[in-house]
Amino acid sequence: MTTTTGPHPTRRLILQGAASVALLGLGNLPFAAAPARAAANDKYPEEAFKQKREADAIKALYGRTAEPSDKVKLDAPEIAENGGVVPISVTTTLDKVTSISFFVAENPFALAASYKIPDGTIPAVANRLKMARTTKLVAIVEADGKLYSASKEVKVTVGGCGG
């Protein structure tokens, strides 16, 4: 069994120096009466992944809204040449982080990935996402029961929908 290094055929990412992090407000999302805390339990958040709009997906996953924070650092390319593979990472200096989630505003389904961060795990994640077109990327960090966000507009040259 191979669990070590070695070249991988699809490992072709061009990491571009992503510099600034644009902090945009998420707008006034309607307040949800019952905080679902879906991200807090162990179940796969099926409903959240079915939501088309970013605001609905955030509500379905967390049951409340996030506030922009400069303690959440979202790193993504300014321009993604291939929307099928966009390298995206998040780090934060916030304490007591319990989850980190990624949303792509204009994808067919906004929620891309949600990561649970147990005690002892560093609140930083890197992954690769698909982006259908040029749109806003939002990262949400759940820390000490509150939600903090960072967002960034990524230009997509070729969309990630294949075909």
């Binding site: 669990t3 593979v85 929620l111 990561y115 795990t121 929908c161 075909g163």
Partner: protein, 103 residues
């Protein structure tokens, strides 16, 4: 059969950095094949990393995660030689598991 999961876990003092690369089509269910028929959705929904009997990282994924997914994270409380167990399940009931020693 070769595992679909390739992991590298390296210890740097108290912090262990884990990188994983999984072979999976991650089909969205929105793309048509050459005959114009929709390719059904087929994607990993949950990916778990366990070390010393506890979850250290759990990923819930939708269709927007790239084909052959990659993920990187770090955690504390493990040392060289400890074993990490990685497992995933997809929306069609498929799954795979592997283990890796922290180097």
């Amino acid at each position: 059969m070769a595992s679909s999961i390739r992991v590298r876990a390296t210890s740097n003092g108290d912090i262990t950095e884990v990188q994983a690369l999984i072979q999976h089509p991650m089909d969205t269910g929105l793309v048509k094949d050459s005959k114009g028929e929709l390719i059904p959705a087929h994607f990993i929904q949950q990916l778990k990393f366990e070390c010393n009997g506890r979850d250290v990282f759990v990923a819930d994924w939708g269709t927007a995660v790239s084909k052959d997914p990659y993920v990187k994270f770090s955690f504390k409380g493990a040392k060289k030689g400890d074993e990490i167990k990685i497992s995933w399940t997809d929306n069609k009931g498929g799954s795979d598991t592997t283990t890796a020693k922290i180097a």
